[in-house]
């Protein structure tokens, strides 16, 4: 199956800092999504981004499908950004394969 690798595994930020999370995948994919899991366990879809760049407030994402990677940018981080960020790739029929996640801790 498709391998999805996320880096770094853990990230500690001071409030207001910027950061970049990376997702590498091993094969061509139909779709790529970024999710945020908050400290209460809820998974929220951030981006559906098979290619190109999208922005949503302080978050943005870029996927370079030909080079099999995606980046998630967090700008001016806030404590509410804490949680685990997952990259997931769709290989067929809407089935997702998830990376192990990046745990982000934003300190006030």
């Amino acid at each position: 199956g498709i391998q999805v690798e996320q880096s770094p595994p853990d990230l500690i930020l001071q409030e207001g800092a910027n950061s970049t999370l990376r997702c590498n995948f091993s094969d061509s994919v139909n779709n790529l999504q970024w999710f945020h899991q908050n400290p209460w366990g809820q998974l929220i879809n951030l981006f559906y981004i098979p290619s190109g760049t999208k922005q949503n407030g302080r978050l943005s994402a870029t996927t370079v499908a030909t080079e099999r990677y995606s980046l998630l940018y967090i700008s001016s981080s806030q404590t509410t950004d804490s949680g685990v960020y997952f990259c997931a790739v769709e290989f067929n029929d809407y089935k997702l394969s998830f990376g192990a996640g990046t745990t982000v801790t934003v300190r006030a």
Partner: protein, 110 residues
């Protein structure tokens, strides 16, 4: 509009017992999915369904059974629970590109 709900939210059971986790969505999405989340593994797909009465295995289906007699419901049954099935279980639904997740069920098998 409740979206997607799961019940129970927490469950403790014993090895060998049958357990059913419920998932209900109000959007009439065609696709529904069951994942388990374990430390160090992210989420792994157990089973999915493309429509009522259509189900298929995911990455880790052994020990689980699903059914989908109605579009809005997708129950997951552990026929004989084992300790290795202790996990957090997430249900999701989608109509096209974006998957929407339920709040999860934390299952402990003693």
């Amino acid at each position: 509009d409740a979206g997607i709900t799961q019940s129970p939210r927490y469950k403790i059971t014993e090895t060998g017992r049958q357990v059913t986790l419920m998932c209900h969505q109000t959007w009439s999405h065609s696709y529904m999915f069951w994942y388990r989340q374990d430390l160090g593994h992210g989420l792994r797909l157990i089973y999915y369904s493309a429509a009522a009465d259509i189900t298929d295995k995911g990455e880790v289906p052994d020990g689980y059974v699903v059914s989908r007699s109605k579009t809005e419901n997708f129950p997951l049954t552990l026929e004989s629970a084992t300790r290795s099935q202790t996990s957090v279980y997430f249900c999701a639904s989608s109509e096209a590109d974006t998957q929407y997740f339920g709040p999860g069920t934390r299952l402990t098998v003693l």
